[in-house]
Symmetry: C6
Subunit: 91 residues, 6 copies
């Protein structure tokens, strides 16, 4: 459903899920990973998911809804990382 992320190829989803990341950018990748994980937990058949993606990726409502799920997960990941405050700012 969600586009496959290939930026963290070493991060195996099943074995080492962690909310802690070094940067906000990486945290956003985790949020996408979590959103995808929620979909595959409901529909594990990758062939069905592939068929649906064709319809889905051209449906604005589905795209926005996906963005919303990512946003909810990003809230979680950002809180887990204390918003990456110390990393970037002295605030």
């Amino acid at each position: 459903m969600f586009a496959q992320q290939t930026e963290n190829p070493n991060q195996e989803e099943k074995q080492s899920l962690s909310l802690i990341t070094e940067t906000a950018e990486e945290g956003f990748e985790v949020a996408i990973q979590l959103a995808r994980k929620g979909v595959t937990s409901t529909q594990p058949d990758k062939d069905v998911l592939f068929m649906l993606r064709d319809v889905y990726s051209k449906d604005p409502d589905a795209l926005i809804a996906s963005s919303q799920v990512i946003a909810i997960h990003f809230q979680t990941v950002a809180a887990a990382n204390n918003y990456w405050r110390q990393e970037n700012e002295d605030q």
Copy 2:
């Protein structure tokens, strides 16, 4: 509605619901369990749920909506576990 989880067969839903888990991965399983629990509390008839699942599992909107419910529960579970920070990081 949500795919049956079989990874924690010893965790009886009714008797020992706990938000505290050792890993984020297990926490995600609890989030899925809670989402499923919300559905069955509204429609307890498993035959009806089974019929609906056929329609449902091929509907991108329903899949994304399910992922969203899981995301909301995962926020709760992650907060309950202090985001599994101490486990993985010194942050």
Copy 3:
């Protein structure tokens, strides 16, 4: 709209609404109760609610949406109870 809960028959909705529970399981029941309360506050006519429930309980989207409302209330109840941490864990 939401299935009638009969597990806490002594808990009168109007007189003693409390977010504090002993277990996460009971907290989930309160979340269901709050979701139902939100529906009846908008449509108090129980006959109409009964008619709608027939349509509703066979609609996957409505079931997931209900599960989502429960999830939001469960966030509130879980926070109110400090996630039942002390009860189950030393964390």
Copy 4:
């Protein structure tokens, strides 16, 4: 859109909006009031709202969506009141 609340007739919406209440029950009333306030801020014409309510109150999706808005506001009100913890419990 939302059913008119008559339980707090002395609480004028415009002049004395407060999130602080004595009980969770009253807090839920404030959440309903806030949800209604959000609707009327977008559609202030009470005649239109009245016409729409007829359609709306028989639509399960709209009822659940209303319940969701109330749930979000109830999160805010409950946090504002520290979940009415001291009032009811020693936790």
Copy 5:
């Protein structure tokens, strides 16, 4: 999309956006302002927005969805103001 607010004519949206308000009532106005700002950031053409508003303001689902966006922003504004606790209460 959202009804124009005229109660704070001196508050220029672009120049002085602030989440801090003196009262909960004013905080609700900021939440409405933020919801409107989210819509105009996606569709800046005011003529299109005006056309859409005619359809929109008679659609219960859209009205409830708007109320939900306001509710989410009100959570933010209320937290920013520590729920206006000190102002109204000694809690």
Copy 6:
């Protein structure tokens, strides 16, 4: 999907995503940027996104849904910045 933001041309999305901003106004821009990032992570093809935007920008439901995603991200950004309290207020 979301209107291109040109106010922070120097802020490269991929390289320097940060939740920390000086003002609430800038924080809202980051929320819009995050919402757009969620959409493009699911549908990276900019031509498809462009085609969809024509339909999308005239659909009230999609506009409100977009505003909602922005609202969720703004919660995150506002929390990250401690609601810009010290900047504007002594509260």
